[in-house]
């Protein structure tokens, strides 16, 4: 029986699909309602950041449908049903170098440290390695990658990992702590002690609020991409791709190649401005070739591509059916009323990426403002953070793409390994080459962020009732009131008074918008501390109270004796 049961309905399940993808393929666009206004929620970010897609699977409530593999025979329902115990965890373990994240940076770091003969443990929250960039289906392996870029590099990194690294997929770190002589990571598969930690936790699409952005069928580009690359499901039949940044191109082309009609790509930036950064372009010639290749493929599929345009509203009855597009000024402001209405059954929209910083913050690493209007972990050329023993690589140190992430991962993995045996000096010429390659790619990324900065147009398009926070259903009017009526002068006060960022996703989605809005409403420039206000999360993922109670050995032992309830609830 290759199907699952969704509220009594048979939903077909194909190999490699997530629960969200199986539901989506069956035409289900929402499977949960918000608790105040009963707004429909389904897939949005598609990669585990937004918590919109929570479902109950075989009685276990609040699972992220975008991460959970669809298993034939399971029973899936939207609203929470009676609780069931969660699966038990793997044994506690320890390693010299623990790498968090199995995307391009994490795989490279793990491979590099393993080749330097350290005991390496690689943790990844996804069930399959590759991160967002190399998100794939099992059948893609050894088959040329079905159009994945740098696929052979992925396969070679993975083969090193499979040979030399302890790899724990589907393992989410929920708490990271620095100890006297090392670090402890509490994960959904047990406790891990580490002498060195490499954070390669990646990033997720940055969303900004606009009227209709929480309609079912509106997803992020990463969400559309994960459905397609990870589960082989197209996000719609007629799709609009919008936002800012080069990532829109592979998303649009990928959809077109899967037979989807892409009704338009609306890019807020003006790519002609790359010409203002000649040095950065020279250092990364490959990037230009890539862009030209995508441009040719857009043309081949006759996909309209408009620059300095933005989707300003999404509308539809229960799901998106139309978007309005407006032209932007060179400064990213609205150039006038919307001039285009585009029919579609899905919209993929995002303005760059936000780094997953919570583990870095929990370990005390210093942050820095990055060129992409966000914050990132401050690192030196070899990925050393401000905390001795903690390294970071890839998007978490500043969004720069997979090529840069691999280089940074190698440098960080090598540095972490070398720090454990300082006498064994790493081959310096090779690393010097990597450092200069990283610098060139970073310069290109900086130019890219300047060209594709999130435009201010979204601020102009907000209405009183536009949701800023999707989880807590906080309208723009409430954020405005916190500043104008209740005297909030910083993001923390806005959060406490109006509750944006207080729900399931803990500000992952609305953090950027809340920071920008707060600064704007207070009439001052956006600061690093505005942007960093949502970066720290003591719990990097939700943790069952029973698991939290069991996480401290003394407490676990204590309550087993003193607490007559313990036996009943375990």
């Amino acid at each position: 029986m290759n199907s699952l049961d969704y509220n009594g309905r048979r939903v077909p399940v194909r190999p490699d699909q997530t629960v969200a993808a199986a539901l989506w393929a069956a035409g289900v666009r929402d499977w949960r309602r918000t608790r105040f206004a009963g707004r429909p929620r389904g897939l949005f970010c598609g990669i585990g950041a937004c918590y919109d897609c929570l479902v109950t699977i075989d009685g276990v409530p609040d699972q992220r449908a975008c991460l959970a593999p669809a298993v034939p025979g399971t029973v899936v329902s939207g609203p929470a049903s009676p609780n069931q115990p969660a699966p038990s965890s793997a044994p506690d373990t320890a390693a010299d170098v623990v790498v968090v994240g199995a995307g391009p940076a994490g795989l490279a770091a793990a491979a590099e440290a393993a080749l330097a003969r350290r005991r390496v443990l690689l943790l990844d929250s996804a069930p399959r390695a590759g991160g967002q960039f190399w998100r794939h289906r099992a059948a893609d392996r050894g088959a040329g990658g079905h159009g994945h870029r740098h696929w052979r590099l992925f396969e070679s990194l993975l083969s090193i990992v499979e040979e030399r690294v302890t790899y724990r997929p589907a393992s989410t770190v929920w708490l990271a702590q620095a100890g006297a002589d090392g670090f402890t990571l509490h994960t959904t598969t047990g406790r891990v002690d580490a002498a060195r930690v490499v954070l390669a936790t990646g990033a997720y699409d940055r969303a900004v609020p606009f009227p209709g952005w929480d309609l079912p069928g509106v997803v992020t580009p990463g969400g559309a991409q994960s459905l397609l690359k990870g589960s082989g499901v197209a996000v719609g039949q007629r799709v609009v791709v919008a936002g800012a940044g080069p990532f829109l191109l592979p998303v649009a082309v990928g959809l077109a190649e899967a037979g989807v009609r892409v009704a338009g790509v609306f890019e807020a930036g003006d790519p002609a401005r790359y010409l203002r950064h000649p040095a950065a372009l020279r250092g990364a010639a490959g990037k230009l070739g890539e862009a030209a290749e995508y441009a040719a493929r857009l043309a081949r599929y006759r996909i309209p591509y408009r620059t300095r345009h933005a989707v300003v509203t999404a509308a539809g009855d229960g799901r998106v059916s139309q978007v309005e597009v407006a032209r932007l000024t060179p400064d990213g402001a609205l150039a006038g009323a919307p001039l285009l209405r585009v029919e579609c059954d899905a919209l993929a929209v995002g303005y760059g990426f936000t780094a997953n910083l919570e583990l870095a913050v929990a370990l005390g690493c210093a942050l820095r403002r990055s060129v992409d209007s966000g914050v990132s972990v401050a690192v030196d050329t070899d990925g050393r953070t401000s905390i001795a023993g903690v390294y970071a690589a890839g998007e978490v140190t500043g969004v720069g793409g997979a090529d840069l992430a691999v280089v940074e991962g190698r440098l960080a993995g090598a540095a972490a390994a070398a720090s454990l045996a300082p006498s064994a000096a790493p081959p310096s010429r090779e690393y010097a080459r990597l450092r200069s390659r990283a610098a060139a790619l970073r310069a290109f990324a900086d130019a890219m962020h300047t060209v594709h900065a999130p435009p201010v147009a979204w601020l102009q398009g907000l209405r009183e009732q536009t949701l800023v926070c999707r989880c807590e259903e906080v309208e723009f009017a409430a954020v405005h009131e916190a500043v104008a009526e209740y005297g909030a002068t910083d993001v923390r006060a806005v959060r406490g008074l109006a509750r944006p960022g207080m729900g399931w996703c803990q500000g992952r989605i609305c953090g950027y918008a809340t920071a920008v809005l707060t600064a704007h409403l207070c009439g001052r420039a956006l600061t690093e501390s505005d942007l960093a206000a949502f970066a720290g999360r003591p719990f990097a993922a939700p943790v069952r109270l029973a698991d939290l109670a069991a996480a401290d050995p003394a407490v676990a032992a204590d309550s087993a004796v003193a607490d007559p309830q313990a036996g009943r609830t375990a």
Binding site: A362, Y486, G487, G496, A546, A549, D552, P564
Partner: protein, 406 residues
């Protein structure tokens, strides 16, 4: 379609900016709930009040608690008397500030004991409280589910305190400040650090110097909460207020069951009363569990004196989780999504410091409320206003006098 962004910035009703007035009758240092109440009652009494805070509104301990308005955890004495008066003021404020906006809920408290001995201690306290005017109703173990359907099954019993209430402390503080500004002409200045207390020829207060210039005033109210000792020091006096750290776990938002939140009262274990009153600096935890309007459940309470150490403590969080699950077994499968810590302003005799400081004419203190500041804020504000205007105080202020430690 409105253009909401047009009405921002300079037109804001509450100007939380740095431009100070040249003079005021009273400078309140601290825009937490206690400072807000002092400002509200002083401005309402006709004084020109300027509130200064180095951070944002309610950014210190007011943003780190649960919003407890409790009589149940207090033994008869000056603090209970002040609390009873203060809760009456909160009910009044509810109609001024809008109970919905400040999430003022007369939800009542339920204190439970796991053992017969614990229940005896609770009963003894309840009898004392009853003679002091506190409503306390003993609840037989078999009746506990009528109050809390999901509570653990094998408890020895408990007491229901209908007078206990809860409020959203940040919204309450901000609403008090808004009312002080809007209705009574006070001014609010956030992001302004007080760097000195100015003194006149005979040592009396003549104003403050700040990061945004100086401001002359006859009176300065030290409502700096956990940081009150350093403000006192600026005026040349010592005040033994120290931080006592606490952690709170926040669960995922829970759906209503039969139109009701899964946890309906403030529910806590008998040990909490002893911990609140304890002088120990060591870690103490006791289960304190309650729902919020937003659907989340807040889980406390821990107490330890470790200075301003902001690091997360897994042993503390772990203990809080275990104790909450023991009280409400269904919480085992509920997820914590957040944790936060705060620093209660601890005073050595567990009583707040309220009133004029005889050592420096013009200096008043309104601080040291430890974990009871939200509840005690209105009464504190009223006492400060009475001291500033020379009118008679509604309760005996002698136990709270600032010079009692010297």
């Amino acid at each position: 379609v409105t253009a909401p962004l047009a009405r921002t910035g300079a037109q804001a009703a509450v100007r939380a900016d740095a431009s100070l007035p040249g003079t005021a009758d009273v400078v309140v240092v601290g825009a937490g709930v206690v400072g807000a109440a002092c400002a509200y009652y002083a401005a309402r009494a006709g004084l020109r009040v300027a509130v200064l805070d180095r951070g944002a509104v309610a950014g210190g301990t007011s943003s780190s608690g649960e919003g407890n308005l409790l009589v149940s955890d207090k033994s008869p004495g000056p603090e209970l008397e002040l609390t009873q008066h203060s809760l009456g003021l909160w009910r009044e404020l509810g109609s001024t500030l809008d109970t919905d906006r400040i999430e003022l809920e007369p939800k009542g408290g339920l204190v439970v004991a796991a053992t017969a001995a614990g229940l005896d201690a609770l009963r003894e306290l309840a009898v004392e409280q009853f003679t002091a005017g506190v409503d306390a109703v003993e609840v037989e173990p078999e009746d506990l589910p009528r109050y809390e359907p999901l509570i653990a099954a094998d408890l020895a019993g408990g007491f229901h305190y209908p007078q206990d209430m809860q409020v959203q402390p940040m919204r309450a503080a901000a609403a008090l400040l808004r009312e002080a500004v809007r209705a009574h002409g006070a001014s609010l200045h956030c992001g302004v650090t007080v760097t000195g207390v100015l003194r006149g020829g005979s040592g009396e207060v003549s104003g403050v110097s700040t990061s945004a210039g100086s401001l002359s005033a006859r009176s300065v109210v030290n409502a700096a909460g956990t940081w009150a000792a350093s403000v006192a020091e600026l005026a040349g006096v010592t005040l033994p207020i120290a931080p006592r750290r606490g952690f709170i776990l926040v669960t995922q938002p829970l759906p209503l069951a039969d139109g009701q939140p899964p946890i309906r009262h403030k529910v806590y274990s008998a040990e909490y009363v002893a911990n609140v009153a304890s002088d120990s600096g060591d870690l103490q935890t006791s289960a304190v569990v309650e729902g919020t309007r937003a659907g989340t459940v807040l889980i406390g309470a821990s107490r330890e004196r470790v200075g301003f150490d902001r690091r997360l403590s897994l042993p503390v969080l772990s203990r809080l989780a275990a104790q909450a699950v023991a009280l409400f077994p269904f919480l085992a499968d509920v997820s914590a999504i957040r944790a936060y810590r705060g620093f209660r302003p601890y005073s050595p005799d567990h009583l707040p410091v309220i009133g004029a400081d005889p050592r420096v004419p013009g200096l008043l203190h309104a601080c040291g409320h430890e974990g009871a500041g939200i509840g005690l804020a209105p009464a504190t504000g009223q006492l400060i206003a009475a001291a500033l205007t020379g009118t008679s105080a509604p309760v005996d202020v002698h136990p709270f006098r600032p010079e009692r430690f010297s």
